[in-house]
Every structure is written in structure tokens, then in C-alpha cells.
Symmetry: D2
Subunit: 337 residues, 4 copies
Amino acid sequence: MIVVMNSEAGDEAIERVVAQVKELGLSPQVIRGTHQTVVAAIGEERPGLLEALEPMTGVEKVLPIMDPYKRASRELRAEPTIVKTRGLEIGGKSIAMIAGPCSVENLEQIVSIAIRLKALGASALRGGAFKPRTSPYSFQGHKLEGLKMLAAARDATGLAIVTEVMAPEHVPMVAEYADVLQIGARNMQNYQLLQAVGESGKPALLKRGMSSTMDEFLLAAEYILDRGNPNVILCERGIRTFEDHTRFTLPLTTVPYLKQKTHLPVIVDPSHGTGKASLVAAMSKASIAAGADGLILEVHEDPKKAMSDGSQTITPAAFEQIMTDCRRIAEAVDRAL
Amino acid sequence: MIVVMNSEAGDEAIERVVAQVKELGLSPQVIRGTHQTVVAAIGEERPGLLEALEPMTGVEKVLPIMDPYKRASRELRAEPTIVKTRGLEIGGKSIAMIAGPCSVENLEQIVSIAIRLKALGASALRGGAFKPRTSPYSFQGHKLEGLKMLAAARDATGLAIVTEVMAPEHVPMVAEYADVLQIGARNMQNYQLLQAVGESGKPALLKRGMSSTMDEFLLAAEYILDRGNPNVILCERGIRTFEDHTRFTLPLTTVPYLKQKTHLPVIVDPSHGTGKASLVAAMSKASIAAGADGLILEVHEDPKKAMSDGSQTITPAAFEQIMTDCRRIAEAVDRAL
Amino acid sequence: MIVVMNSEAGDEAIERVVAQVKELGLSPQVIRGTHQTVVAAIGEERPGLLEALEPMTGVEKVLPIMDPYKRASRELRAEPTIVKTRGLEIGGKSIAMIAGPCSVENLEQIVSIAIRLKALGASALRGGAFKPRTSPYSFQGHKLEGLKMLAAARDATGLAIVTEVMAPEHVPMVAEYADVLQIGARNMQNYQLLQAVGESGKPALLKRGMSSTMDEFLLAAEYILDRGNPNVILCERGIRTFEDHTRFTLPLTTVPYLKQKTHLPVIVDPSHGTGKASLVAAMSKASIAAGADGLILEVHEDPKKAMSDGSQTITPAAFEQIMTDCRRIAEAVDRAL
Amino acid sequence: MIVVMNSEAGDEAIERVVAQVKELGLSPQVIRGTHQTVVAAIGEERPGLLEALEPMTGVEKVLPIMDPYKRASRELRAEPTIVKTRGLEIGGKSIAMIAGPCSVENLEQIVSIAIRLKALGASALRGGAFKPRTSPYSFQGHKLEGLKMLAAARDATGLAIVTEVMAPEHVPMVAEYADVLQIGARNMQNYQLLQAVGESGKPALLKRGMSSTMDEFLLAAEYILDRGNPNVILCERGIRTFEDHTRFTLPLTTVPYLKQKTHLPVIVDPSHGTGKASLVAAMSKASIAAGADGLILEVHEDPKKAMSDGSQTITPAAFEQIMTDCRRIAEAVDRAL
């Protein structure tokens, strides 16, 4: 922690900061410049330090110098985490292609699309049984019935099931049917949910909040890891900015940045990230070229009849083309698909 | 709903859109321009319409024309909603001043600050028993014990208690002790929580999500209203933007905008909105001048010893000055404090 | 400057940083922690230091600790700068109300609105002769003819003229007619223009760029101050964020923040800041309550016939009401209007 | 143009809107719904229409339905524009790699790096003679001398020269030495500069402003095209958002979006877009996978000694690796490098 004193701070203020630094269990070192004095506080940078130092008299600002997450950090664990479950493997050489409809609509739909996707080479099936919707008047998902339909699709294809869980009390139920528990962007800082998923032991697919920083994203993962669950997949799905020609802004730089900072696998959701079916193919290729360990894509037999997110959903034919194109990109970065 | 066809869309595509509009229960009207054709779809704009029309062949974009919320709308109810509970009144002529520490730390602290704030004219006591924290290693609140301390502070002062609830399963417990259930910014789209608060019947203080649009904010309120709870207080607490000199960007234009759109009361949180104690007074005055129905402020006897959010917390002396200054502003806009 | 070494940086890397710090004319101080080493580089923080240190081997990040601007800083000059020209005074006790149409349309229009505004108590007349327009097909202003019309309006009323200058080569021409040279948001970092205005000796009204940080804003002012022109008025006019219910997001916290950091006067433009006439009155009051030294407002006899920016333009009747309301707010913050 | 009337608008208000639409030369069509009436205004959507309709009594909002740019639009010209100059070709099958230092520092430096880059396969040489700098105290470039050094580097290698021009009055001078005139992000809406570059007849490399929408970006290109210069290269270089782990947010979705909307070539600047040398390689590959027609990269023999932007500058060795890696990606998308 670096405590920058303002230019008018006298000796007394500096001494009080030094004393406070000691009281916090850190070791202070005073550096006097011609304009300003700086107090370096050396030691573990646990939460609360900044808040304890910043309001003090004479303090201009406090600059943390260490990353706030630990278990997610590459410094703790250099080799990559590979999440494996029922044939799905994310974080190794092979790139995972998770595909399926936004919502599970009915048994026939989910089983037939699963069979189709399996044939096209998908690695896992996604599909929403619990749907977080902006409006209370929108379709909220088939819930338990939807989970059962997903299980039937798994039985028919062997594909692992990725589905969202929205509340801590639903975790046991969803964990009974799903192979991977997805935490949606709106719930990235729903700490009770993170903890419940952490305790479930099931692999978690954690979507980045639409206005989250990287530190916040990795600290959300830390909540899951801290409960003893090492299988966290990070997913970039777009952030909210001033851009209005796409639904969100998809910042792919997240991918190489996270790969440097954490050992956890990183995937991309170009469907939500763009919000437009016509942009999904290009961003799928770009994600893999940027180093992503996988993609999660919305695919529906007839996007305009999808019960949610039709605008960004692609057809199986488009998915087939993406598989072909992404395979070429994967090879160009020494990966496989 | 206005469906804009692209310039190459032929008659067949237009006819399919017309048929789809009818099937959706809306009445279509085709407007042919020299460059483009537009299909107006007249009728109730329920969710799902956009998604059903946008992916169709030949459609360039779909423009909604009505507000998506209903119960929160001024069109449904012209007179302002006044939320009343245990001496606290928000939305009428008088401006509510909700004050207290970020976290409930111990019984002595919360009772003594409550007595002090009551003497200075506060309208209600805020204090966190459940604390949403970015890091799993930060202090998470005293939970049930904290609620009991808040109740003791209420007994000592008569001040209504405003405190945050973070998970649907905690709602009954928090509702037993609190007068107003606060939903934090990170939970603005935690729909299970919104519904549980809606069913509790207790007044709700709903904070704006840090990247929420006004439509999303009002639809989150709609989730509560839709469960039969009419007492929703909206709170602007700052949004996330590129600005780095404050913790968040506090967009006060929200206040007059919401007052035009909804009958619900609107308050402002200048503590989180700025993140800096030295900016709280000016933004408190500005909020009231902009038309806010109240403020919620973080006040602590010794901000640098606060267990959370010290940097943005003011002292009782600063609160006293804000009361004096805001009283003058309130009078200048024909309100009282 | 604080140079944070990464955890694997060895002694050799640290020594190279120490040597580089010395070569840059700063005095290094090494602080060894258990996890990381930090090198404090004490001395003048001129531009280029960060770039010279950050790419070095073993360096994780470099944290500047001083504000990059000098002449604009309150540390250099504690008393406020009051800009005075032809009856207009900004930065003192009195609040300046600069009003007028977006564009100068014709002689009759500008003279008659000037007379009307003068009667209503405006402090200066604004009006665009050179218009920066997003589209090349939009009305670009009457240029020299427009400047002459503004001069005629000044002759008729005695009001000081505030008008935009868009290119360095136009500065002499505009300076001949105007009392205050406005630099628009899109030109905030047009350095040739800033320098030319700095050399003109005329007071400058500098609008914040729509994605500028406070440091960039004050450094843009520094370009003008550095050319010997002390009369710079800073103007907050809204920033670009994800918000879509207003044209821009108007962050009034800028006002108290800048008043703490700089001696220069600070005004607000609620017309551009909101983009909606119905929100201008509330934000005018809020700006003054936040501590602004003045407002700049778009007023037109018939907004729907304005040649630009009609949506955010108010009528003279609305301006009259704003004068009345703002006078009350000004008194409530011990200012006058 | 779709004019949405508010729900209280009476017949009189609707008739006035109809009359105004006619007066503006458009043809009105009234669509009455149960809740709201909508007036469709069919015809050319020139600038100024929105402003003329939005302030009218009874109007809730006005929705444009056509793109505001014309010459840049794919609707006007379906085949791609290929910009060709001195061996550099952008927009065809081959991907252009523009590389060089941020600033031209001295003759020896620029000639030797040019020879090196030529040998590594670069398509053109970039280098700044005029440097836009946030601070007036930063190095501003060698100006005319810098241009002469660039010309010498061209003589030595045959590489086309790409360099920035910052003011309209410098255009003739810069055009004498450069092959492509770069317009920086801060000047994207410096309309005098755009027009001067348009009149120069030299190819223009237009960088996206850091908070520009796609419409604004294409309208800025339109300013150049409108002056008879068809050779405009669009460059995505990152936008300003809340993200703080990179210098800017690099939204690669811009690439496929622009390729759909315009016939102009689109390149990416991963150096500014990330601000970190360690992220440049991944984003270079991603850009090409997304469909970019080229890259512009900052390369310096010794990044830590660069006079500007050292943190994001790569070494020639890193550039060589990027060439190798990008060649593979280019082949995977049926392009060449």
C-alpha cells in the first residue's frame, strides 16, 4: 500500500499515518520528496486497509500495489486449470464449443437440437430452464420441467449440460440435473449464490458482470474457489458502454489479460457479446485467435420463433459454418476443435 | 412497434412480416417510402415481440415505441406515491434524510450514532447487517446480531430502520427487524430477491444498478410492484463510467427524469455516488435542488475506523452542516427538511 | 513515481530500474516487501517518466503520485481566478447566466433574443457563428456574417458575446468580434486551437470533452494558460456513457471536484448535458447548488424552428422561470444571481 | 422518420405535426393505435428533421430510420474500396501491416527501424512527426524535420509513409512528404481538418474517436469523401470505458459491423487499443480473424527509450513473431499477409 500525503501534510499527520500503518500490522517506510511525502506500507494487502488509511488527515490518496485475489492468481498456481466433466474439457489444448438455445422450450425442441449439435461437433449443450428476464412480464423459463428436458437431451446425446442457476436455494435442484452451473452476468456479485455454487462441488461457468472490472471478476471467482470448488470457467460476455450499434461491447482483450493473470479457463459468449446473429461468426473466430479456451453460442432451429434472444441466435447451419471456420483458426493457433 | 425493412426487402418479405405481426396479435400497417418500407405494428407492446420480429428476413431493425413498465408509470397513476413507515415519509413535501454507518459494528456504536443522528434531525437510520463485499476476505456483516442491534437503536430513538437484504431466504428475518428493506445496486436484477421483497409487504428501497438503464431500473421496481407491494423508493447511487476521479459517476439528471416518468419517490446516495467524503455536501445540496425526495448518507463517529467504506463516510459534525445547508436548499425549492 | 516490481523480479532487474530512475534525474528509494519490491522515484513528475519505466524488465506497473497540471492547480494559486470582460464576471460571488440560441440564424433573430435575454437578467449572449456538426450535410453556421450579427446584438444590449471558434486560423477573426472564445467539446484536445486561443489573450470558455478525464481537462486548460492567457473558464457539458434516456450524462460532481483542484471558474451547460428541454430547469438549479459559478443555456424564441439543437432549447419564458428559481438557490448557497 | 405522439396528444397536436412534416418536404402518414398515435414521415432523412419535430407539442420522441451517411454506405457502392499508394494496398485480399515507432526521434533511428521492418515484411512505415500530447509539457514531435526523416526512410526502403496531421494549415506540408495522412482519434471531429485532408487528395487513415459511435465515425469519413477524396481507411483504436486494466477497450466487433455497413477498408491499432505490449500479439491475431484489412503497430528498437508510448510498443523481434502468427491466421480466413 502506498499512502500519498498531500503537500500541506505536516510531520504530525505523517506520524499518525505511520502509527496507523503499524497498528494495521504493516511495516511503514517514509519517503520524503521535495513536494510530497509518501508512506509505503509493506505487508499483506488485505481488504479494509485502504478504507482505514484514506480518510486520515493529510492523506491525498492510497494506492494498492498487489492484486486482491489469491486463489485465482497465476502466482499461486502456474499451470492452467483444466475443467473436465462428462466429456467436456475446458482449458486444455482442445477448444470447447458449448451450444444450444437460449431457453429450453419443450422436450422435442431440446432433444432434437441436442442431437443436431452433437452431430455438428458441439462439446456441450446449453439451455435455460431458469431465465433471468428484465421484465416481470417476460417468459421466465420452465424451471424444474426444463431441467428434466435437459437431462433427457443429455441421455439422448451424452452431451454435458450447462444451465443457469439464479438463486442459492435452487442450487441443489439444478446441480442434480446439470453438469455445469452457469452464473449469469446479473448475478456475478450475488455472493450468496456464488457461495452456494462453490459448495455444490459442480463446475461453475461464471459470466462477467456487464460493468465489472477484472479485479471484481476474479474476486467473484474467488468466492467460489474459497468454498473449495476449483472448477471455475470464466466467461467474457460483453460490457455496457456508450456503443449503440451492438447490444454490448465485447472486449476480447479480456482473454489474453486473464490468461496472464489466472490459471482458470476463459471462454467467450459472442451471442450476448454482440446481440446480433450477423456478427457472431466473425467474433467467434476472433475469440479463438485471441486465445479463448472455448465459446458458448445460442443456436436455435428457428431463431425468430425462439422464446428469448432471437436477434442474436444463429441457426444450426450457421453453427456448422462456424465450426468449420473456427477449426481453421484453432489450428492456426496450435489448438484443436 | 415499428419494423424497418432493409432497402432490398421484397414484397414477399414484407408480407411475411405482416403475417407475423398479425399472428402476434398486433395490427399491421405498411408504409412504403422511396427507399425503405416500414411496417407499423399497433397494439400492446409486450416483451418478446421484438425478438419475434427482428430475426426475420428483410428486417433491418425493430423500434419499440412504448415504455415497457406499467405499474411504475405516471401514465397509470398521476399522483405521487408517498411511502410512510414509522415516522419516515418519502415522496411528500418533506425531504427524508436517512443516515447512519455503512456497517453495524457493535451495539454501543449503532445506538450512540442513532441518538446523535436523531438529535441532528435525521428521518431514519441506515446500517448494514448483511454486507455485500467484492472480496470474500472482507468483513461480511454481523447478520442476525446486527439486525438486533439495529432494533435496539430503533427502540432508543424511534427512528425507522433501513437495512439491506441480500438473499431471498433472508427476507423474512430482515423484515422482522427492519422498517425498509434495501436492495443493493449489485442485486438490482436479482429477480428472486425482488419478488421476495415484493411479497414481504415491507417498503423497499431499490438502488439503481451501476450499469442499469432507466427502463431496467423501472422494470426492477415493476417486479416488486407486481407482487402487490406499492411502496418502492428508487435510489440513484451512481453509475460506472470512464471517470476515475470519483468512485462512481453520479448522474443527477436521473432525478427529474424519473419524477416525470414514475409516481414513485426518488432519493439519492451521494456517499456511494461520489466515494469521497469531501464531495458529499455539495452533491447533497445538488440532489435536493434537482428535486430528490430524500438522501441516504453514510455517517460514522470516526470514519477512518469504520469497518467499511471509510473514504466516503462523513462525521456527525459534517452531517449537521449538511442538514443546515440542505434545509436552505429545500426551502428554495418549496420543500421542507 | 512508484515503480512496482513483479514478484519474480530479481536483484538485477531492480538495479536496472534504480539506474534508470537516476538517469531520469529522480532519486530512487528501494522498499523490499515480503512479496514484492517497490522503487519510489522521488522528484518532479514530468511527462515521459512513466513511459520510460513501464516497459522495463521486471516492472509490473508504475503509479504516478502527483497531479500532472501545474498552472491550473490550486496548489500554485489558492485564490480563485475571476474572469472579467465587458460586464460579465465569472468566478466571484455572483453567478453568471450565459444564454442564447445554438446558432445565429439572422440579424433580427439574434438582436431580438439578445434584448429579451438582457431584460430577463442574462449576463452574456451565446450564439454560434461557426457550428461543428456531426454530418457534413448539416447547417455549418453563417461564419463571418454570424459574427457581425453577434456584434450588432452586443451593440444593442451591452451583453458580452460568447461564441465558438473551431480552427486556429479563425482565432483572429473570431477574437475581433467575440468577448469570450468558446472551445467546443470535440476540440478540447485540438492542441493547435488551444494554443492559438492562449495566444489571443481573450478569455476562453473551455468545454470538457465528452470522454475526458479531469486530468485531461485541466491539461487542456494548461495549454491555454501556458501561452500566457490566465482567463480560462471550465465548462462541464456532459459525458458519454451507456445512459440512453438523455443525450449525455451530466456529472455534476465535477463542479465541487474542480473547485477543490483548481482556481479557475467552473460553469455548467445543462442544455447539452441533458439534451432535453424538460430537464434543463432542474439541472440548472442543481448546478448552482453544487457550487457552479455560472450556467450556459440554449434559448430560442421558437425552439422547434431553431436551426440546430431544438430538442434541448428552452423558450424565453422558461428561461425567465429558471432565473427566478436559480436566484433562490443562489441565495441558499450565499451567492447572488 | 417516425414521430411518436404521447398518449395525451390531441387531434390538434397531431395535425400540427402533419403540417410540419409536409412543410419539411416529407410525406406524412398517420397511424392511430389504442394508446398512442404515430406519424410516419416518409422521404429523405436529412439532418435537421429530428430537431424540427422533437420540440413540438405532443411529440414524445422521434425515431430516425435511415443511416445518416451516404457516400460511405455499402448501399451506394457494394464493391469494396481498395486504397492503393506506393506499394501499400488496403482493402483487397492481402492484409496490410503498418509498423513503426510512435515518434520519429532522429534520422538514424527512423531509417534503421524502416530497414528492419521492411526486411520483416511490413507494408508501410508509421511514425509521428507531429505528436498530439495530453500535456503541453510533453515532447511534441520534430515537425518538418521529422517529415524529412520519414522521407529519407522511404527513400531507403520504398515503404509508404503514414504520418499524422494535426491542423488544417499543416496539410499541404505533411502531404508533401507523406503517402497516407493519419487523422488521430482526438481529431476525428475536427471538421476543418477533415475537409482539408479531403481536399488534399491523399489517402486518409481516420482513427475512431475514443467515444464515437459508428454513425459519427462514418459521418467523419463522409466529411473527407464529400470533398472528393475516395481513399479513406477506417481504423479502430479503442474506446474509453470503465475498464481499467487496459488503456482503452478494443471493441473488435467494429470490424465485421463496419464491413457490413461500408465499402471502406477497416484496420485495427492493437497498440493503442490495449496500451500494453504484452497484449498486442493476441489482439493482432484476433483482429485479422475478425476480418480486419490490416493492422497498425508501434514498433521500436528499444521500447523503454521511446520518446512516447513506450508501454505499448513492441520490439522488432516481437513484430517478427506477430508476422509469423498473423500469416497463419490470415490463411485461415483465406487472406494473405
